[in-house]
């Protein structure tokens, strides 16, 4: 069974500062990894995904993440955040052998960007 740990429940940053949201996963099989964003009163939107290949993946809105197999991590980064990036961010994992049907989510990290 897979599990996801998001190490920070809340991350406050100032506008234009860099940010890193941390995610570690546990799995006995090879995985797909995802970051989703949830704005208030909205559903989840896929930011980026790692399926295979290059360990550095780029997503929408200037976000990127790096898959580190030895550290079982998939941290999300953005070099300069905007007020509009204020949202909740979820890391998720699925079994790459069985497909992406069963997503296991972390508890989320609330990013607050202050002016």
């Amino acid at each position: 069974a897979q599990s996801v740990t998001q190490l920070d429940s809340q991350v406050p940053v100032f506008e234009e500062a860099p940010v890193e949201l941390r995610c570690n996963y546990s799995s006995s099989v090879s995985v797909y990894l995802f970051w989703y964003v949830q704005y208030p009163n909205q559903g989840l939107q896929l930011l980026l995904k790692y399926l295979s290949g290059s360990t550095l993946v780029k997503g929408i809105n200037g976000f990127e993440a790096e898959f580190n197999k030895s550290q079982t991590s998939f941290h999300l980064r953005k070099p300069s955040v905007h007020i509009s990036d204020t949202a909740e961010y979820f890391c998720a994992v699925s079994d790459s052998q069985g497909g992406s049907e069963k997503l296991v989510f972390g508890k989320g990290t609330k990013l607050t960007v202050n002016p």
Binding site: N41, G43, L46, G99, S100, K102, L103
Partner: protein, 117 residues
């Protein structure tokens, strides 16, 4: 193209009452998911349908929860009777499944926020 549609967006009921949520997936998507999102938590899968068939309902509390997707398109999730602990957001998602082992992106609806008093 319309996204995943859910209704109602908000529902307030008293405990022991029944409640139902409706989801219309993206046109052509054969796989539909219902997730439960408690406050401060990530979504947890309740049930997954491939067409009309519920292929994973292992996390659905079957004593009070039921779901159906009769024609393989839209779906209804029901709780009867509701308990205080059922207060949460119920998310629906859909995907177009090409085959086992392939990546099939899930698209999420806005959710229904249930409050049980």
């Amino acid at each position: 193209e319309a996204g995943v549609v859910q209704s109602p967006r908000y529902k307030i009921i008293e405990k022991k009452q029944p409640v139902a949520f409706w989801c219309n997936p993206i046109s052509g998507h054969n796989t539909l998911y219902w997730y439960l999102q408690n406050l401060g938590q990530g979504p947890e899968l309740l049930i997954r349908y491939e067409n009309e068939e519920a292929v994973d309902d292992s996390q659905l509390p079957k004593d009070r929860f039921s779901a159906e997707r009769l024609k393989g398109v839209d779906s209804t999730l029901k709780i009867q009777p509701a308990e205080l602990g059922d207060s949460a957001v119920y998310l629906c998602a859909s995907s177009l499944m090409f085959g086992a082992g392939a990546y099939n992106e899930q698209f999420f609806g806005p959710g229904t926020r249930l409050t049980v008093l």
